[in-house]
Chain length 320, copies 2
């Protein structure tokens, strides 16, 4: 019996088959190309149908399917909001995929919920009942497990940690994405670089040289490696924000682990000890001693593993 | 059949009997007087024994007991840490009370967990599955319900929101109690008043007149009512912190309600609309629209109601 995990991203969708122990038996990545709106849903449904019938023919039928979506899964309506998929403000993905999966249990969750679920199944949060995945990429979100269950909130948008306020007083520029994300997402780091260049006419370091166009967060990390002072100050500030945010998660949730992942961890993975040092200043001191900070073990595969694990959990819930 | 709810405070302990619908049938408050350490435990056990046998004689026996403690209930060990009860660093309350309750189900929870449970049972969070009680008294804590269950964390110290970092950069003075609590607890408001008086030699307003000794938070609220500018600025700052903290809870938990309680709400209860206005600046905007901010409906009885409700839940869990 197989579990099908599907991970939809902004440019591609990954399909992977797992056994119940979480061993990945096959994986295929399909580009979205120029697809948008319902065409993305159809691509997922058609490819799912192929996977399901191929698994059937192999004598190892799919017993449940999980889908990770880059946004919000509105579980009561079966719809998805995904800002990077044009036309997916309230897309009825459940209905679309159910036309091909039929009676096979199907679960759709946000990518951040899938990331922490994947780490619990086969990554660095194995065995945890209380663990958080801090996903820092273009934006920032948190996948949160409490008492062994995903934290969804009343309307499925829990974990919007990019909106965490960490430095009063308020500035109206934070309203585009939230105070934490403004400074410490990949986009935020790029934004800090642009602001630095604007403020410092005379600076002629790596960030100025980096490119004619907008500096990327990758370029800021690379410049920091060369000893560039501007890049160092931008990353130091991000470390301060990551440390405060992690500390706040520790004080509120008293988790066993915080897993750092997403595109920025990546290059920031070596900064986890510095983030912990910053968190030690702010957090409830006993709770801080009880948590470990770790990188993602699954990197880009966390979503597809998590989708597979949630498919597995769906089976036991359906049978209850 | 009756439920016995017990609420231990720093100076007194309340015992109340409820029916299964949450109607309070009797309540008695016993002063701790000079008791400390094991004597507090014995007072609780002895009074519990009296309540249990009186209920038995009335033909309405106690079917479960809940105890609210002003600190942390370490459920795995059955012990309690309560900073305001001398000698209760790791006091074996479960063992002490079980000697008199015997087979009657017994549950011990932190006061903040009891507050939100009480509001869910008979207060302003009735019917909620995701709700938070922000308790602002001498200190600050949060009782948090997600998916209808209490958030305990890995080691029972979740909800330590007084430690939330809200205003970088870090100052070492925050290590005594946390950044949020430093400015916005009852003690924090008193501390701001003391610092104000020290910084403003020439100020001769209400706070200077208030008393020869340390100004209390009550005196700050009273001075604000008279139009005192110092008191207004201290409370404005607290409103900013309460708003940011509430916003962060909204973004992380996507709750249905946040209940404001504790001694400070109280005099701050009229400020809830101003707190919401502040939260609107910071929070995830959709999540903010989905939450309501409300005062505690139970005030000083939230703990004893919550203890009664958790006793009721203990029965159904025991029978599973």
């Amino acid at each position: 019996m197989a579990l099908l995990g599907i991970d939809l991203g902004g440019t591609k969708v990954a399909f992977a088959l797992f056994d119940r122990e979480g061993n990945m038996k096959a994986k295929e990545v399909v580009a979205l190309d120029s697809r948008r709106g319902a065409d993305v849903g159809k691509l997922i449904a058609v490819t799912t149908a192929l996977k399901v019938s191929a698994a059937e023919n192999d004598g190892d039928p799919v017993e449940a399917t999980g889908i990770s979506v880059p946004g919000i899964s509105r579980r009561d309506r079966g719809t998805v909001w995904a800002p990077n998929i044009p036309g997916w403000d309230d897309y009825p993905l459940l209905k679309e995929v159910t036309t091909v999966t039929g009676q096979i249990p199907l679960v759709i969750e946000s990518d951040r919920s899938c990331y922490i679920s994947g780490e619990i199944w086969k990554g660095n949060a194995r065995g945890c009942h209380d663990a958080i995945y801090l996903a820092v990429g273009t934006g920032i979100g948190a996948g949160i497990i409490v008492n062994g269950e995903l934290l969804h909130g009343a309307h499925d948008i829990a974990g919007a940690i990019g909106w965490m306020g960490l430095s009063r007083p308020f500035r109206s520029k934070y309203t585009i994405c939230g105070n934490f994300e403004y400074f410490a997402s990949g986009e935020g780091i790029a934004r800090q670089a642009a602001e630095y260049l604007k403020r410092h006419d005379k600076y002629q370091g790596e960030l100025r040289k980096a490119s004619g166009k907008k500096v990327t967060s990758q370029e800021v990390f690379a410049a920091r490696e060369t000893g560039d002072i501007a890049a160092a100050s931008i990353i130091d500030l991000a470390v301060e924000y990551w440390g405060m945010a992690a500390a706040n998660l520790v004080s509120l949730f008293n988790p066993e682990k915080i897993i750092f992942g997403g595109g920025v961890f990546g290059p920031a993975v070596g900064l986890i000890p510095a983030i912990r040092q910053e968190a030690e200043k702010w957090a409830q001191p006993i709770s801080l001693k009880q948590v470990s900070f770790e990188p993602s073990a699954l990197d880009g595969d966390a979503g597809v593993y998590g989708a597979g694990f949630l498919a597995l959990k769906q089976i036991s819930q359906t049978k209850h």
